[in-house]
């Protein structure tokens, strides 16, 4: 019990601790591919600290909601991230919410962020909120059909159970899982506002989505929101890793050494994913906003196709 609690807390701190590092790694990869030296890996930590130390400038017309939302968004994302197995399954509180609830938690974070974008009453905030609402409406159903696929393969929507099932050798190579993986990657790109859906580095007015929504934030509020965004990236990478590349994941009741090995492997996987994301982002162009529905819609179709194959061919097992 105590050990489990310790590992749960360790995981929760781990995801926060590595989140800026992962973002730094993606940025560094992209910089190197552009033949720039780029900032050091720990630059995101410095940015966060610098932001947190500054005074917060809040727009005149902002309500209490505006100052409340960053913490809420951060909390929802953190709770969701704490429920995704990173290096060990069977976390102490993993039964308190399943994968559908994790999606809904992220949906809650998006909902409140969209409200914050509308709060000050500027045109850019509304623009960001409106587009974010569209992307959410596309990505959430895609995510749900991916959950259907996973739940049908593993017989559970509980992420720990799914991961434990994936580690066990009786999965086999299912086409549906392949489709779900592709769909999940697309959804992850869209949800995290990465290229080709949104550009996290842009501050050009008309191409911003996420950045437009949080345009009015500054100081500590901005730091918290940025950290939540980094956390979300870690969450999605962990999700993909724990379901589709689960090797090395410590299953419940594993020894402490196994868990430490799992943690090490997890960091390696995270680093690989970060580099892969950097390479992918450098090799592709951002889409027009109204191309995004096609892109994410394709993920929805793919996830649905995977689920459909399983629903229909389940009698074959």
């Amino acid at each position: 019990m105590i050990v489990d609690l310790a590992f749960q807390l360790l995981q929760m701190t781990l995801v926060i601790a590595v989140a800026p590092l992962l973002t730094g790694l993606v940025r560094a990869t992209k910089a190197r591919l552009m033949r720039r030296r780029g900032p050091p890996l720990i630059q995101p930590y410095r940015d966060l600290i610098r932001l947190a130390r500054k005074e917060a400038v809040v727009a005149d017309g902002a309500s209490w909601l505006f100052r409340f939302v960053p913490y809420l968004v951060f909390a929802a994302t953190w709770v969701a991230a704490a429920l995704v197995p990173t290096f060990a399954t069977g976390l102490l509180f993993s039964w308190s919410a399943d994968l559908i609830a994790i999606i809904a938690l992220l949906g809650a974070a998006r909902f409140f962020l969209a409200l914050a974008g509308l709060d000050v009453g500027t045109s850019f905030g509304g623009l960001g909120s409106s587009r974010e609402a569209l992307f959410g409406a596309l990505a959430e159903p895609a995510m749900i059909v991916i959950v259907f696929t996973l739940a049908l393969v593993a017989g559970s929507t509980q992420l720990s159970t799914v991961a434990a099932y994936m580690v066990s050798s009786n999965v086999g190579l299912r086409v549906s899982l392949g489709m779900a993986l592709v769909a999940l990657i697309v959804v992850a790109l869209a949800e995290n506002g990465r290229i080709p859906v949104d550009n996290p580095a842009t501050h050009l007015e008309l191409t911003m989505v996420h950045e437009a929504m949080i345009l009015e934030y500054s100081g500590r509020h901005l730091a918290v929101i940025e950290l939540a965004a980094m956390l979300k990236l870690v969450l999605y990478v962990s999700l993909i890793v724990c379901v589709f590349v689960p090797w090395g994941l410590a299953i419940a009741d594993a020894s402490v050494a196994d868990r430490l090995l799992g943690a090490l492997l997890y960091l390696v996987k995270l680093a690989l994913a970060g580099v892969a994301l950097g390479v992918f982002e450098s090799s592709i162009a951002k889409m027009r906003v109204f191309r995004v529905p096609d892109f994410v819609g394709a993920a929805l179709m793919l996830g649905f196709l995977g689920a459909l194959l399983l629903f229909v061919s389940r009698t074959l097992k």
């Binding site: 009453g121 609402a133 596309l138």
Partner: protein, 670 residues
């Protein structure tokens, strides 16, 4: 005194109140009398219904010598009706509470006061009726009382047309239900529900009765494409009546559907679930798309009722399928999801309509494009409305999420069904459900964001005042219940399990015994959810983050003009509007429901006239179904109009011909 008798005396008291309201409408105390009395009666009946639901599971039939001479009026309260009595009287009590505060602003009390308690009495009577005659009579009474309330402000705007469409559709629905009951009644004329249960009709007849019930009850509930009256009629009534119609009366329709289809007819074919699932999914998606395109706050809420009805019907469709294929626990799960969503929707929809009513009475505006920034002047209303928005958008830890989560869990059981059609249909329905849930979040981000956030777009919004304390109480009670049902859903699931087992003769595993108040519909290893822990985790980590930041980092705060990428002093008109917020979604999904025409009138450089952008949305369903129907009715009417100008001899020959035709039919009858 039996429970049935108690409920009937409550209804009688409500009717008495209606008469008193009619007589004393002009007196200053009339509002307090009617709403206070209705509040007391509803609260008493709520307690009584709760006792019935939790305690006894089976009522006894009470026969009164009313109505048709050889039938009598039968009344019975079983767990199913007790559950719906809870829903209705909770909504009724909240609406009465709101009415206490709103009565002072009512400019024509004579048109509202008598009908409000009568409407409540009608809904209550439907639920306790236990024979077809009483059921239909109460149903029609409920419809007419609500119609009178819709017509209360008949001179304003489009209300007269709304009342007309409502009356036509309500009569049509009752007619369908009448036919359905006629098919279900045994040839000997057994109109009592007991007699119908005892002698179930042949599958083909039952199937027809099921379709008629789906149309009849569905038109009242607002399923697409029979929803057209709903978004016209619900917003037209005074706000607390809108809340009753949207949050509560649709539930009576849902009850009618459950009673007929699950209890009296029973699924008699696997295909029963197919139309229900398709209608449910279509209703959910189209309902939310319609809602997204509205900028009238009350109409948006009314359209959104359509979406929630769709979600409820998805649960019913799954329950029908599971019940037919002999999977009682899965059927119980689906039914629980549907009934819990029924309860939840009555909570948050009432709350949101009260909020819209408070905004309307504070600003005189229903159009969101004329509002904005109300969170500053109406902080409490804004908070309650925000809770309602979060709940209806199915965000954890509120209650809307729990019922949608249960629906998803039920969908995940559908591969076990041994029917190809259902296997393909179920995941499609699941995807549509997820899509409509996500769109609902967008819809309510818009509703709250444009109305309450940003800067005031008009003077009336700028000078709004917080609403009265009755309205606030009416909002905060459902808001608290939304949170409670989301945080400890297990208690609510257990409470409605007698109603579920009445409908599908199966029940979910008891949730009360599970550690930490989790809910686990099938088994904990398969799926579980704990609203309490999620709520606590969010609260703890948010406060942890806030305290860490405030303790170790900067605490300084400065107010400054908005940055907005460096555009200074923009006018409130430059804010995003409701229409522009929904524009991306309209462009992507709108083609499903609308025929959109955009017209841009851009002046040449140098011209001083303003550029104009016009958008017309045509409703496909109206164009495809109702407009041709209305046209053909009109054409037929023009044709028949000639009959008015016949000579006496011609009239006589028409009557004579009709008589001869009937006689010939009689002679040739096999």
């Amino acid at each position: 005194m039996s429970a049935e008798a108690l409920f009937l005396s409550g209804d009688a008291a409500l009717l008495g109140l209606a008469v008193a309201g009619g007589v004393a409408a002009r007196k200053p105390f009339a509002g307090t009398l009617v709403y206070g009395g209705a509040l007391a009666i509803c609260a008493a009946m709520l307690v009584l219904a709760l006792v019935e639901l939790l305690g006894r599971t089976n009522g006894e039939t009470l026969v009164l010598p009313l109505g048709l001479p050889w039938i009598g009026a039968r009344f019975r309260v079983d767990a199913l009706s007790a559950f719906f009595l809870v829903v209705i009287n909770l909504g009724g009590a909240a609406a009465s509470l709101y009415g206490l505060g709103a009565a002072r602003h009512e400019h024509s009390p004579g048109r509202v006061l008598p009908f409000f308690p009568a409407f409540l009495a009608g809904m209550n009577l439907v639920l306790v009726a236990s024979d077809a005659y009483t059921f239909l009579l109460s149903w029609e009474f409920m419809s007419i009382a609500s119609w009178a309330l819709v017509m209360a402000h008949h001179r304003e705007g489009d209300n007269a047309r709304a009342g007309y469409v409502y009356l036509v559709m309500a009569s049509f629905g009752t007619f369908m239900l009448l036919l359905s009951f006629a098919l279900l009644a045994s040839p000997a004329g057994g109109y009592a529900f007991d007699a119908m249960r005892a002698a179930p009709p042949a599958p083909a007849v039952a199937g027809l009765a099921f379709i008629l019930a789906l149309i009849g009850a569905g038109s009242k509930a607002g399923i697409v494409p029979l929803h057209v009256w709903l978004p016209l009629a619900h917003p037209a009534a005074p706000s607390h009546v809108s809340a009753l119609m949207s949050g509560v009366m649709t539930k009576v329709a849902v009850y009618g559907f459950v009673r007929i289809v699950f209890d009296l007819a029973g699924p008699q074919g696997w295909w029963w679930s197919v139309p229900v699932l398709m209608v449910g999914a279509g209703t959910a998606l189209l309902g939310v798309l319609y809602a997204l395109m509205q900028h009238d706050l009350k109409r948006l809420l009314a359209y959104h009722t359509v979406e929630n009805i769709g979600i409820i019907f998805i649960g019913f469709g799954l329950a029908l399928a599971f019940k037919w294929f002999g999977m009682p626990s899965a059927a119980a799960l689906a039914m629980t999801a549907a009934l819990l969503h029924t309860f939840n929707h009555s909570l948050f929809k009432s709350l949101l309509f009260f909020g819209a009513g408070a905004v309307l009475s504070a600003t005189g505006e229903r159009d969101m494009e004329h509002l904005g920034g109300l969170i500053h002047n109406m902080p409490r209303t804004a908070f309650a409305f925000l809770v309602g928005c979060a709940a209806i958008s199915a965000l954890p830890p509120f209650n809307g999420f729990v019922s949608e989560w249960l629906t998803f869990q039920a969908i995940l059981l559908s591969p076990e069904l041994s029917s190809w059609v259902l296997k393909i249909l179920a995941p499609a329905v699941g995807a549509l459900l997820a899509l409509s849930a996500a769109l609902a979040a967008a819809c309510f981000a818009k509703a709250f964001g444009i109305t309450f956030l940003g800067r005031a777009r008009t003077d009336s919004a700028k000078h709004a005042h917080e609403t009265n304390r009755f309205a606030l109480a009416a909002m905060f009670v459902p808001a608290a219940l939304c949170l409670a049902a989301g945080v400890v859903p297990g208690l609510f699931i257990d409470a409605l399990s007698p109603a579920v087992s009445d409908a599908v003769s199966g029940r979910m595993p008891a949730q009360a015994g599970i550690a930490w108040l989790s809910i686990a519909p099938i088994a904990e290893s398969r799926s579980s959810y704990n609203g309490l822990l999620v709520f606590l985790f969010i609260a703890i980590s948010a406060s942890l983050a806030a305290s860490v930041i405030h303790r170790f980092a900067s605490n300084a705060l400065r107010r400054a003009p908005a940055w907005d990428c460096g555009f200074p002093d923009s006018s409130p008109a430059t804010q995003y509007t409701a229409e522009s917020f929904a524009q991306p979604i309209r462009r992507v999904f709108g083609g499903l429901a609308f025929v959109t025409r955009e017209h841009i009138d851009m002046p040449e450089p140098g011209e001083t006239r303003p550029a104009r952008f016009e958008l017309t949305l045509g409703d496909r369903i109206w164009d495809l179904i109702y407009a041709p129907l209305a046209n053909s009715v009109e054409r037929a009417a023009v044709e028949l109009n000639r009959l008015q100008f016949l000579t006496i001899r011609q009239y006589l020959s028409v009557v004579f011909a009709a008589l001869i035709t009937l006689l010939v039919m009689l002679a040739s009858w096999p």
